[in-house]
């Protein structure tokens, strides 16, 4: 069963999706908004990322493009994978 990361700025949506995916037996991680929280996802590398494509960047009011959001997620995951082997080694 694949692990899933959900990125959405609406807390109700996060809750409801988590309930549905939990019931289906997935391991679910959530990130509510912005760069900081997303980059703080460190539990495990998800197999699937569910991404709200119209997340506003709150600093300049412009919604992130899907590409930009994917880049953020990818960078967060990259950093995590870079850290994890080190932890395993030590």
């Amino acid at each position: 069963v694949p692990d899933i990361l959900i990125v959405d700025d609406n807390p109700d949506n996060l809750d409801l999706l988590t309930i549905i995916l939990d019931a289906a037996g997935h391991e679910v991680q959530t990130a509510a908004d912005g760069r900081e929280r997303l980059e703080a996802v460190t539990r495990r590398i998800p197999d699937v990322v569910l991404l709200d494509v119209e997340m506003p960047d709150l600093a300049d009011r412009k919604p992130y493009s899907p590409e930009a959001l994917l880049q953020i997620v990818a960078r967060a995951l990259q950093e995590k994978t870079a850290r994890q082997p080190r932890r395993k080694a030590s």
């Binding site: 700025d9 609406n10 109700d12 949506n13 409801l16 309930i19 549905i20 939990d22 019931a23 709150l58």
Partner: protein
């Protein structure tokens, strides 16, 4: 630019061009009238000269010629010895005398002086035939010397008649000269008057043309501006529709998800039903706000309300919420009639009060102040709080539809509250502005026009 300012721009000035055109046309008609009058009068004068003066002069010339003829015939009679020839000459003399009386009878005197001269001439002429007749009878008896003597004695009388005739001729000439002078004067004054009128009317027509040209240019500029405004408004409207659709779809997504959860057999559905209700509520609020926004223009035009009434309502509206939070509410307003719909001003103050409640600082007791006072031209209301405040960038966009601040994303709201405030105030002819310090609080400043009665009262006071 709002629709109100567009409709205001429509009322461009309309000068009385029709009057200007009427004046120009009247000018040309008057000029033509003067020309016709001058020509007709000249014609009448010319006719007078040709019919009276010239024929009179001709008559006098005929008279003089006849007199000469008479004298020659009398001389011829004196020299003639043959009886039958004398008869022929006498016949001719009778004809000449008849012609003389016909000429004097045909003469038409034009005034008293001419009449007097004519009378004198007639008197002198009437004295002539008997004396000529006596000379002729002497000649018939072949008393030529006596007849000649008789005729010589008549010489001064002939001269007198000639003088009178010449006097009459001169009088006619003078009258004719006077009439010609009158024609010249008439024509000259008509020319001068026409010249003046032409100059005046031409200048007036040129000025009108300049004004019309300028007006057309003005209208064109205005039209272009209006077009640009309308295009801008259309773009804004498109963007607005996009935002509305997006913001309606967001709660719809949540409702969709909630429905999916409720369909799941083995999960706790209480959170789903809460989320569902929240989604419905969010859509309701948004639709409510949109309706308010769309009705603003219609409700505000020409309405007047009293600040004291509105403030009393707002106090009642906000009190329960503020009491529950332990917040302080301070209201200090002087009453005045302002031009704004009562319901909408109430909505404005309620929106601002609710904003203060929503965006309060969690660790500080909320203080909300509503102050109102009349200035010389307008009524100023300030609504201040000691809440989170906004950054300069947020203040800049705060009145735009669907804008929501950085820190307030989690707080429920449609993003239409402040745009409603701005629309209401601007549609009422007022203005709204924001002073805010992040972390200290926000002050909304509203200027509303005083209703006219209030202004009048201030002027007399």
């Amino acid at each position: 630019m709002t629709s109100e300012t567009i409709s205001q721009a429509v009322e461009v000035r309309r000068p009385n061009l029709r009057l200007a055109f009427v004046i120009i046309i009247a000018g040309f008609i008057i000029s033509v009238g003067i020309s016709i009058y001058a020509i007709r009068n000249s014609q009448a004068q010319v006719r007078l000269i040709t019919t009276h003066r010239l024929s009179n002069i001709e008559l006098v010339s005929r008279l003089l010629f006849d007199l000469n003829q008479e004298r020659l015939l009398v001389d011829a009679h004196i020299f003639e010895k043959q009886k039958e020839n004398m008869d022929i000459i006498e016949e001719d003399l009778t004809k000449v005398e008849a012609d003389i009386s016909a000429a004097t009878g045909a003469y038409e005197p034009s005034d008293a002086e001419v009449q007097a001269a004519l009378k004198q001439l007639e008197a002198e002429l009437s004295a002539l035939p008997p004396r000529v007749a006596s000379a002729i009878s002497l000649s018939r008896q072949n008393l030529d010397v006596e007849a000649q003597k008789k005729m010589r004695n008549l010489q001064p009388q002939f001269e007198e008649i000639e003088r009178s005739s010449n006097h009459l001729l001169r009088l006619n000439q003078t009258r004719a000269d006077e009439e010609i002078a009158r024609i010249t004067f008439l024509q000259l004054s008509a020319i001068i008057l026409l010249a003046i009128l032409t100059v005046v009317w031409t200048v007036f027509a040129i000025l009108t043309a300049i004004r019309v040209t300028r007006l057309i240019a003005e209208r064109e500029t205005w039209l272009r501006q209006t077009m640009r405004l309308l295009e801008e408004r259309n773009r804004e409207l498109d963007a607005f529709a996009g935002r509305v659709a997006h913001d309606l779809r967001a709660p719809l997504n949540t409702i969709n998800l909630a429905a999916a959860v409720i369909d799941e057999p083995k999960v706790d559905t209480s959170r789903a039903s809460h989320a569902l209700r929240r989604g419905v509520k969010a859509m309701e609020t948004l639709i409510e706000d949109l309706l308010t926004l769309s009705r603003i223009s219609g409700q505000t035009t020409g309405t007047i309300c009293h600040v004291a009434n509105v403030v009393a309502f707002v106090r009642d509206d906000l009190k329960p919420k503020l009491d529950a939070l332990g917040a302080l509410l301070q209201i200090e307003t002087t009453d005045a009639a302002v031009s704004c719909s009562e319901g909408l001003l109430r909505q404005v103050l309620w929106n601002l009060g609710e904003n203060a409640v929503k965006y309060r600082r969690a660790d500080v007791q909320l203080q909300l102040k509503i102050l109102g006072r009349a200035t010389l031209r307008s009524y100023e209301i300030t609504v201040s709080d000691n809440g989170m405040g906004m950054s300069a960038a947020e203040v800049e966009h705060a009145f735009e539809p669907f804008f929501r601040g950085k820190q307030v994303k989690s707080t429920p709201g449609t993003g239409l509250g402040l745009s409603i405030v701005k629309r209401v105030i601007e549609a009422s002819g007022g203005s709204a502005s924001i002073d805010s310090i992040p972390g200290r609080g926000t002050t909304f400043r509203i200027q509303l026009p005083l209703a006219e009665s209030k202004v009048a009262w201030r002027v007399t006071a």
